[in-house]
Amino acid sequence: MSRFALPSGHNVARPRLSYLASPMQGTVIAAALGAAIALPFFVGEFWVHVANEILILGLFAMSFNLIYGYMGQISFGHAAFFGVGAYTTAIIIRAPLAETGQIGWGIFLAAILAAPIVSALVAAIVGWFCVRLTGIYFAILTLSFGELLYYIVFQWYSFTGGDDGIQGLRPPAVLMATEGYYYFSLILVAVAAMVVWTITRSPFGYVLRAMRDNQRRAAFLGINVRVHQWANFVIAGAFAGFAGALWGPFGRSVAPGLLGWQKSGEAVFAALIGGANYLLGPMLGAGVFTFLHAFVTKYTEYWPLTIGVVILLLVLFLPGGILSLVPKAWWTRRGASADVPERTKEPVPKS
């Protein structure tokens, strides 16, 4: 880890790894978790299904936000790692399912855990090229890699099933029930979110913010910008893959669209709707997005028009996302700084 630590000679206080930075945050998180646990007792199966979707999409959006909110680069190809994860799990459990029609817990969990590893490997290759660029060039390069992977999956019939995707991905019996899979997702997503939180509050997480606010200054401090960005890209890819792993057995199928840029767009929406400056902003945004989708498509086929108007209004009138409505002081102990300091608008010297 010494590679990722701040250079010696700079006496930087290590941020406390406290999970409850303020009583307020603790209360909010406990309330949210409690509500999530209690949910299946109060609503019908349909909304439990929607909530499950929110959890998975939310984790995916949180992984995207490691690159966007914390590192300050926008990726349009992040769904590639989500899709690679989903396909990894699907391909591993496909064979035993085809033979017996059932899947054991051991191989199922192994398939879930293999997904982030494969996604991280793919992200390591893609990221190696992408972190050399910034801004719109970074965005287009990630988009290009994502679309390339999409077409590979789309065309490789013998291995991925091509545009048919892979169907019949049944989880173990206990998880076949909507509630069962929901609690399974809730546990895994909660653990993953906690790990993400730990990462963002580590010295590594603060290096990410330093690079976001002023890449050149970070480099002057002796931070190896590319190595840190690359490491973060790989980490973000791994969490996207983990979210993807949950997706296949949840929907019982995978399709190439999981890798497409529209899916990447959902992560961007979620982060911006909820608030990219907050750890749980993307999760909240995913909730709003998915809930709106489930709600609106019940009444009208003009879903794009609806979400378009919502996004338009949000960008114009609430640029920091929904969580920016909450006063800063609520999040922090007396006088302490906010958990995720907002990006500062410093003049960047021109070359």
């Binding site: 926008i74 719109i136 988009l143 065309q155 378009g308 960008v315």
Partner: protein, 297 residues
């Protein structure tokens, strides 16, 4: 498959005309980004809307099939005029609020426009594909049969390239636009109303997209969602050429158009994948595109 001249030449012409279409749309995209630093995700949606308006104008003047081919000209003119007005209006009401915002927020706002305009097109024109048929005879050039309309599109593309070059290099307004690329503040300090410049540039860029929409109408049917395919390719063009460079955009558009037109024969479903491979190769070797410089990020 024979890779003789009879195959290569028509394919090359198809590729070049496709490149011209990409250029017409990407030029506006590049101009708007270069001058206003706004990344307009909705640019190809304006192209599609222009196409639908041109279709409605065309069918108002005559039948969709077998009408006088020259009707394309007034139909395109109507689309360009309508979209320029829309562009001016949108710049005044929406885009103006986005100056100085972060790139992702601009993308999000313009992507919202993609969703809204796309659905409005669906509301007005329905889900059926729309096309006009001119019934022009093919031209025989060097013994190969060429769709004569390719030549029209190539001529329009070259005319726009020349026109843009003349406008930016030789006119007073063009000089102001180029100055605004480098320093908005200085242009403002010299007493030039930058707000008007921005509005005109945005309207002009959108008008170029509408021009492409009208001109391409007799060649490819209009379909919902076609804008999404095109905008992704236009971003590829602009990035490969280098943002803000008209010549770069032109060269990249032709390169990508021709690559696509041959790739679609080698790998029909994966032609776009080859385009993305091309973009990756260029960006890895030349991070600012073929003709671009590290101006603003």
């Amino acid at each position: 498959m024979e890779f003789g001249f009879d195959f290569v030449f028509p394919q090359l012409m198809a590729g070049i005309s496709r490149g011209m279409l990409l250029f017409l749309v990407a030029a506006g995209l590049s101009l708007i980004f270069g001058v206003m630093n706004i990344l307009n995700f909705a640019h190809a949606t304006f192209w599609l809307l222009g196409g639908y308006i041109a279709y409605s104008a065309f069918t108002a003047f005559g039948p969709p099939s077998g009408a006088n081919p020259l009707l394309v000209i007034p139909a395109t003119a109507v689309a360009v005029a309508a979209l320029m007005l829309l562009g001016f209006g949108l710049e005044r009401v929406l885009i103006r609020r986005m100056y100085g915002r972060e790139v992702p927020e601009q993308l999000l706002l313009t992507f919202a426009l993609v969703l809204i305009i796309g659905d409005l097109i669906k509301l007005v024109w329905g889900v059926e594909d729309r096309s006009v048929f001119l019934g022009l005879p093919p031209a025989v050039i060097f013994g190969a049969f060429i769709n004569i309309y390719y030549l029209v599109i190539i001529a329009v593309g070259l005319a726009v390239l020349a026109g843009l070059y003349w406008f930016l290099q030789r006119t007073r307004f063009g000089r102001i636009v180029r100055a605004a690329v480098h320093s908005r503040e200085m242009v403002e300090a010299l007493g030039i109303r930058i707000a008007t410049i921005y509005m005109v540039v945005f309207g002009l860029g959108v008008g170029l997209a509408a021009l492409a929409g009208g001109v391409v109408l007799p060649l490819t049917p209009l379909a919902l969602g076609a804008d999404i395919d095109l905008i992704v390719q236009c971003f590829a063009v602009v990035v490969v050429g280098g943002f803000g460079s008209v010549i770069g955009t032109f060269v990249a558009a032709i390169l990508i158009g021709v690559t696509y037109s041959f790739a679609i024969f080698l790998w029909p479903d994966g032609a776009l994948a080859i385009i993305f491979l091309f973009v990756i190769a260029v960006l890895v070797v030349r991070p600012w595109g073929l003709f671009g410089t590290e101006l603003r990020t």
